[in-house]
């Protein structure tokens, strides 16, 4: 059985009298250590999928079995624990705490985990060992995003979820981030899911899940994904 098994996942929002179907009958599976890109245009429902996978939202129907547990059946408390121990998030806008240094931002996450990685080590791992005492405002966007990745990694999660991690970065910095993610995935055998609307990025993935209008449009398995540096931007 695959590490992640998503079956017939649907999410509908009730907006007054109108029912909006954000996603409908989505099914896919992801193996442990895979780097998956979920690709789709704006409003296709990919963020909804990510939110559900990340335990930030509950599906209307369907099941999401992660490492043998169906998180679709989790209550809020269990979801919080799930986020706390199993998930690492990387956001488009980093969402660092501005009043904490890079190291502290990492520690903020790691201190609540059961088996965290050493915060400073993680920072070094993302190449910011010498900037650990800097505040987010003193860091560039790419550096901030690396702190954000370090924060996610320090939790030693089962799953790394990245929502448009390069969306707010220039392409050069973006590539550095993607490279970091790919390396981490490969080196640490970390299951990583990247959500993006940028088709180019999908070239680096082991698996590409294309979503359109709330449905899985196509699932593409790439036996030999390109290294980020080899991708032609």
């Amino acid at each position: 059985m695959a590490f992640i098994e998503v079956k017939n996942l649907s999410k509908t929002y009730q907006m007054g009298e109108v029912t909006i179907k954000a996603i409908e009958n989505i099914s896919f599976s992801i193996n442990e250590g895979e780097l998956v890109v979920i690709l789709g245009p704006s409003g296709a429902g990919k963020t909804t999928v990510l939110n559900i996978l990340g335990g930030m939202d509950i599906p209307s129907s369907g099941s999401v079995i992660i490492d043998g547990k169906d998180i679709a059946k989790f209550n809020r408390k269990a979801l919080t624990d799930y986020r706390r121990y199993d998930i690492g998030f990387v956001f488009q806008f980093y969402h660092l705490v501005w009043n904490l240094t890079a190291l502290e931002n990492v520690s903020l996450a790691s201190q609540i985990c059961k088996h965290p990685k050493e915060s400073l080590e993680t920072l070094k791992q993302v190449g910011l060992g010498d900037r650990s005492g800097h505040f987010p405002a003193q860091l560039s966007g790419g550096e901030q995003q690396r702190v954000s990745i370090a924060r996610a990694l320090a939790k030693n999660p089962k799953l790394l979820l990245c929502d448009e991690p390069t969306g707010a970065l220039d392409s050069k910095t973006g590539r550095m981030i993607l490279e970091l993610l790919q390396n981490t995935c490969h080196k640490e055998h970390m299951t990583t899911i990247i959500i993006t609307h940028n088709a180019v990025i999908s070239e680096m993935a082991d698996k590409v899940i294309k979503i359109k209008n709330g449905k899985v449009d196509d699932i593409l398995i790439q036996k030999n994904p390109k290294l980020v540096k080899d991708i032609d931007w």
Binding site: N51, G54, M56, D57, K77, T80, D81, Y82, R83, R84, Y85, I87, F89, F91, Q92, F93, H95, L96, V97, W98, N99, L100, T101, E104, S107, L108, A109, Q111, I112, F135, P136, A137, Q138, R151, K155, E164, G167
Partner: protein, 1015 residues
């Protein structure tokens, strides 16, 4: 228009914020308006009461009374409105010092509470709370010096604007404290002069009492009165002088007249005595003459009688010898004669038979002849004897006659002798009584002459009568009320200012945050081409709606609720009508302007700040504030020890400096208010414990009916019989001293010499050392010394109710918290006042049975009145109870303020940091961890705020207590440790409550929405 619609929608969407704005405005304006208005309402209420019952502006009392001439000249004054003469006197009724007034219709009227006003001379009006309708009041007979009746029936229960305070001032009777007052019809009074006259000044009724224009108005009359005073004093002096001189002249004239009449009388009497003496002498001479002539007459008579008796006896002898010849006794004579005559007849018969010539015849004849001769001689002898016998009878008669005559003369003589003796006695006693009368008379004359001389001297020494001019300020109730009312004002000055400051800061905070949150919307409006003015207006509209609603609520509470609460405290001390509530438009407009201005400026500044950005910038969220190292990190050893979460907390604390300041001000302010509230309670509560626990230890003061000059064994015995365990004699009197034109009552206590009074009153100096009374000075209470500004060795003056001044020297100053006392021993008292005297006994007794013992004692003639310490304590407790209302008011407002501030700050804190909180949630922080992350900051701020607040509270409490202190009270500015704890706990509780509420806000924060990318 759409913008305004938008405002309404905003209100609906942010009800919490909108209400908190309303609340802040309401709270600030209510407290400000309410506390400020209270004193004004109180003064207006009092003024209306004074006006309605025509409280006098001036009262004049003269040492020699006032006459109709005085009244006339007063009426002629230019600035006078009413001049009403009246009568009053003080007496003891049922052991209480009572002032009896003649009830006047025009001035100082009494407010009828029950019953009716006076109609008959035997009716009386009494003070509320003393007697009941239908009670009979019997005045002591000394009242007859003033009034006709001594027995009255209560027909009405009244209150008087003259006596609005529990403390009615001092009295000349009983314990020196006036206990109550009564009214009777003035026609009851029998005095020749008025005891006082009341005046009102022109236009004074239209002025508000206590205010400066009232003072200005009456000062005109005051000036006139001061001018008139010496004139009338002199006039009255001359009048009295003339009267007295006339009396003296009359007396002298009368004396002269009396003298001349009496002198003549005495001269006559003396002459009569002399006449009588002469008469008596005459009488004695006559008597002696009579006596002599009687005795010589008696001698000659007796001689004559003797001679006559001799003569008779001689005659008889002759007769008897003649008879002897016949050989017969006188008794035989008639028979012999008969016998002889028979013989003659026989012989004659024989003769006749015989011739004449016969011898026989011749013989016979001669015989007859002889016989005849014998008969003849016998006849002759008989006749002679008869004659002699007659003579004898005559003599006897004469003798008898003489004896009668003699006896008669003798008795006449004796009676005249007796008369003379009586006369002599009479004369002697007459003479004695004359002399006595004369001496008495002389003495009387001397006495009268002395009296006249005395009167002359008295006239020579006649003191000028003195007019005492009193105005309302001399009425302690009147001034104390003003002090109390203005005290509210002083407190009002601090508290509301504080509220307004906090409210202003809160408003600013709220609006700034609101506009920050809505900068995107502002950017949108600008980019859509709305004018700045319109945008600002839409926010102003929002704010002003909140402000208007807040003001409506706040001003209503402020003007119509708060004064009533504060006033409740005072009605317990003052007898005044219900508070009249006023809406103060001036202040309201000020409050409205301040609120509108403050809120408007805050809004304008907050909105305007955004206009400097380009709309595009505005459409993006404001960049979060940059993180910074805090100074604490430099103290590495400390910083290292902090757990990670605490590091975060500390960093966050210093991140939002404005918020720190706001929170600290808000929380410390509320804390200070709370602590002040508790502090007021503590100070007043401990005051009672200190005064009645640490200082006054006696249970009662028993007043004597008659003053004694030394310790009286009989009284001691009675006390011992009535279970009085220990007692000390003292003289207790009321005096007053003046400070800054204000008269303050002071109680004098002069104790027996050499008695340790520590069993009754613990006199302690400021270091807590025991003080004893000395012969060369007095011990005065701390507050008295402070008000007078005297220290050890200084002198100061006190006056009695007749305004006589006595100067005392301060030997010690003792701790004391309630009332003013001057303690001394009797030796010093005698030095100042002339003689030792005791009018009361201070005692301790079984505290459970004071009333019982007291009732028993009052039945004994020695005692007139008892003043229980528990009564004073109860009175105090009432005041404390009512002050609690104010404390609760402060506590209530502080609570609301504290909760509002905390809620406001926490919600703003949360709203500012929604993204951060959402991040934490995403990272898997549990709800309680998220809350703790936010609360820890609030908690730290609360603790710091509370600590600062406790410090501020101590200062604020000091200030409030200083301001609230009355002349009679020295507050112990002391806050119990428990009060600090309570304040701390209450603030903590508020914090917890607010955090509990905000927990749900935190829980509601949606991670996904909050983290949604802004594109």
């Amino acid at each position: 228009m759409l913008l305004f619609k938008n405002s309404f929608i905003k209100i609906r969407k942010s009800l919490g914020r909108f209400f908190s704005l309303i609340f802040i405005v309401a709270l600030g304006s209510a407290f400000f308006a309410g506390v400020r208005e209270t004193s004004s309402d109180m003064i207006k209420t009092a003024d209306a009461y004074y006006d309605e019952y025509h409280l006098m502006d001036f009262r004049i009392v003269s040492t020699m009374g006032l006459t109709d001439d005085d009244i006339l000249s007063l009426e002629e004054l230019e600035n006078v409105e009413k001049v009403v003469p009246g009568y009053s006197f003080e007496t003891v009724v049922n052991g209480e010092a009572s002032k009896i007034y003649g009830y006047l219709e025009d001035i100082n009227k009494a407010k009828l509470v029950e019953g009716r006003y006076l109609e008959n001379e035997n009716e009386i009006l009494v003070e509320k709370g003393t007697y009941h309708l239908g009670d009979t009041i019997t005045l002591e007979s000394d009242a007859l010096d003033y009034v006709k009746n001594t027995t009255y029936t209560v027909v009405g229960i009244v209150e008087s604007p003259m006596y609005i305070y529990e403390n009615k001032g001092i009295s000349t009777v009983s314990d020196g404290k006036l206990d109550t007052y009564m009214y009777i019809l003035p026609s009851n009074f029998t005095l020749e002069v008025y005891t006082e006259v009341y005046l009102t000044a022109k236009d004074s009724i239209s002025k508000t009492a206590y205010q400066s224009d009232y003072a200005d108005t009456i000062s005109k009359l005051n000036a006139e009165l001061t001018e008139l005073k010496p004139i009338r004093e002199t006039a009255r002096y001359e009048e009295i002088l003339a009267e007295a001189m006339k009396e003296i002249y009359d007396a002298e004239e009368k004396l002269q007249e009396e003298k001349s009449v009496n002198d003549q009388k005495f001269a006559e009497a003396q002459k009569e005595i002399l006449d009588n003496e002469a008469k008596l002498k005459n009488g004695w001479a006559q008597y002696n003459n009579g006596k002599n002539s009687l005795s010589s007459t008696k001698d000659s008579m007796e001689q004559m009688f003797k001679e006559k008796e001799q003569e008779i006896s001689n005659g008889e002898k002759t007769i008897f010898s003649g008879l002897e010849t016949f050989g017969i006794t006188i008794l035989d004579v008639p028979l012999t004669i008969e016998t002889l005559n028979g013989q003659i007849a026989q012989l004659q018969a024989m003769l006749s038979m015989l011739s004449p010539d016969s011898e026989e015849y011749i013989k016979l004849d001669s015989q007859i002849k002889t016989l005849q001769a014998s008969v003849n001689s016998l006849n002759e002898l008989t006749v002679a004897y008869q004659t002699l016998q007659n003579g004898k009878l005559e003599l006897a008669n004469g003798k008898k006659e003489w004896e009668d005559e003699y006896n008669k003369a003798l008795s006449t003589l004796n009676s005249s002798y007796q008369q003379l003796l009586d006369g002599e006695k009479e004369l002697a006693s007459g003479k004695a009584s004359y002399e006595e009368n004369y001496a008495t008379y002389q003495q009387e004359i001397l006495k009268e002459e002395q009296e006249i001389a005395d009167a002359r001297e008295e006239v020579a020494n006649l003191e000028k009568p003195v007019w005492y001019l009193f105005d309302r300020e001399d009425n302690s109730g009147y001034t104390t009320f003003y002090d109390s009312a203005t005290k509210v004002d002083s407190i009002a000055a601090v508290f509301p200012l504080f509220f307004v400051l906090v409210a202003f800061l809160m408003g600013m905070n709220t609006m700034t945050r609101m506009i920050e949150e809505e900068r995107g919307e502002i950017g949108l409006f600008i980019s859509l081409g709305y004018s700045k003015a319109k945008i600002i207006l839409s926010y102003l509209f929002y704010v002003l709606i909140a402000t208007v609603i807040g003001l409506i609520i706040g001003l209503n509470i402020g003007y119509f609720v708060v004064p009533l609460i504060i006033y409740r405290v005072y009605v317990s001390m003052f007898l005044l009508p219900d508070l009249q509530l006023y809406f103060n438009f001036g202040v309201s407009i000020l409050i409205i302007l301040v609120c509108f201005g403050a809120m408007g400026i805050v809004t304008f500044l907050a909105v305007n700040r955004n206009f400097k950005y380009m709309p595009a910038n505005l459409l993006r969220p404001e960049a979060p504030k940059m993180g910074k190292k805090v100074f604490l990190e430099k103290i590495r050893f400390l910083w290292k020890r902090l757990s990670f979460t605490w590091k975060v907390t500390v960093r966050n604390l210093f991140r939002y400096k404005k918020r720190i300041v706001m929170t600290l001000i808000g929380i410390s302010g509320c804390t200070a208010l709370l602590l002040t509230g508790f502090g007021i309670q503590d100070s007043i509560g401990s005051l009672m414990n200190k005064q009645f626990g640490e200082i006054e230890d006696y249970d009662a003061i028993i007043f004597l009916n008659d003053e004694v000059h030394e310790v009286n064994n009989d009284i001691d015995e009675v006390l011992a019989q009535n279970a009085i365990s220990s007692s000390v004699y003292l003289n207790m009197e009321s005096f007053k001293f003046s400070v800054e034109n204000k008269n303050v009552d002071i109680y004098l206590m002069a104790f027996e010499d050499d008695v340790i009074i520590d069993d009754f009153i613990h006199l302690r100096d400021s270091d807590g050392n025991s003080i004893s009374l000395s012969d060369n000075g007095v011990v005065i209470s701390e507050k008295t010394a402070r008000m007078l500004g005297v220290s050890l060795g200084d002198t100061f003056g006190i006056r009695n109710s007749d305004n006589e001044l006595f100067v005392l020297k301060v030997s010690q100053i003792s701790k004391n918290y309630v009332n003013h006392y001057v303690y001394m021993n009797e030796s010093y008292y005698a030095q100042v006042f002339g003689e030792k005297t005791y009018n009361a006994i201070m005692t301790t007794m079984d505290e459970e049975k004071t009333q019982e013992i007291g009732d028993a004692l009052l039945k004994i003639d020695y005692f007139s009145n008892i003043q229980y310490t528990t009564d004073s304590m109860n009175m105090f407790q009432d005041i404390i109870r009512s002050l609690n209302d104010i404390v609760f008011l402060i506590l209530g407002f502080s609570t609301f303020l504290a909760i509002t501030v905390l809620y406001n700050l926490t919600t703003i804190n949360i709203s500012e940091r929604t993204r951060e909180i959402a991040t934490l949630k995403v990272l898997g922080f549990h709800n309680n961890e998220v809350s703790a992350y936010v609360y820890r900051e609030t908690l730290v701020l609360t603790i710091f705020g509370v600590l600062i607040g406790l410090g501020l509270g101590v200062l604020l409490n000091q200030f409030v207590m200083t301001v609230a202190e009355t002349d009679e009270i020295l507050f112990v500015k002391y806050i119990y440790p428990m009060s600090y704890l309570y304040t701390f706990l209450i603030m903590t509780l508020f914090t917890v409550v607010v955090q509990f509420i905000t927990y749900f806000i935190l829980k509601r924060i949606n991670m996904i929405d909050s983290l949604k990318s802004v594109e």
